[in-house]
Symmetry: C2
Subunit: 188 residues, 2 copies
């Protein structure tokens, strides 16, 4: 079973309240580019992620606004920032890392919210049945190329609204020298 | 078959001539820390890798001096520098990437010499026989942990002077969240 790869660079999701603090009271995220997942988009907004040790500038905000603020970085980013975020699914933020977000209008000290996202595949319930994945929580996925290999623990994220696509972070992508649009092979 | 991992951060090997240009006529590399491979050491010297796009400061020089100058970086570093180095074994530098090295005493424009090192295992001829690897050029290696997986195309580098050890770059290490001293498992 082949799946198209999408490589996620470090990015931020914001709740309505935090968007207003960082960008101003009546600010709305503008769509710069629609992502593969329906309704999701890259916005024209950037923030700085700051910690005691260091900072990373120009981290893109993805839209639309969510019910929670979440910062997704790679382990390489985490070393630079001097923090140890857990590997987590989106929205599973209890006890995750603290960072400060800085926007043009203000800043927010997040007590938690910074994670390394799990490798995952967006898939519909129909596709789960069609592909014989029913009841499975994760799969292994083979990546092609001269630095190819197999990624374990790729979570299956199921929703009727999803487009079939696999998301990995820049560390996984750079280690295996793959990029957005490349084809990977799911191993049951 | 288990093997101990050594994670190679970006580093530089210098020939005698280039050491003198970068650090001065009578300069000799001092041993800060011996590496696992016999005779190899981390020195107290750092250089800057510079390209048209960007630069990376404080890149450590490893000793002893070699017959060739070689710059080993990760793909993440390569993106920052705006270059596309090939994946190569040590010493196989024909047509590899151009970079400038800057030291306290001078600089060198390398027309080639910058590579992404192949994943590899240092092993002795006796161990090749003992482990049943005779005639093999490469193996696959399983990495442990919650971002574990399998690395393909891990080259077997054979010499009676080697210590049994696997070297990966920081992209491979960070993608799989492993570090120097962790144990990996060779899959024939």
């Amino acid at each position: 079973m082949d799946v198209v790869l999408g490589v996620s660079n470090r990015h931020v999701h914001l709740c309505e309240r935090d968007l207003k603090i960082l960008f101003g009271e009546n600010y709305e995220l503008e769509i710069v580019k629609n992502l593969v997942q329906p309704g999701e988009f890259a916005s024209n907004c950037f923030v700085t992620i700051k910690t005691e040790k260091s900072e990373i500038e120009r981290v893109r905000v993805l839209g639309p606004v969510r019910s929670y603020t979440q910062v997704e970085i790679s382990l390489t980013d985490a070393f630079k920032l001097g923090i140890k975020p857990p590997v987590r699914d989106s929205g599973d933020l209890a006890g995750s890392s603290a960072v400060t977000l800085i926007g043009p209008n203000g800043s927010i000290d997040l007590k938690e919210g910074c994670i390394i996202a799990t490798r995952h595949i967006h898939i519909t319930p129909d596709q789960m049945l069609e592909f014989g994945f029913d009841g499975m929580k994760s799969v292994n996925v083979e990546l092609p190329g001269e630095k190819g290999g197999i990624l374990y623990n790729v979570q299956l994220k199921v929703s009727p609204n999803y487009a079939f696509e696999m998301h990995i972070d820049t560390d996984d992508a750079n280690a295996h020298m793959v990029k957005t649009g490349d084809i990977a092979r799911i191993i049951k």
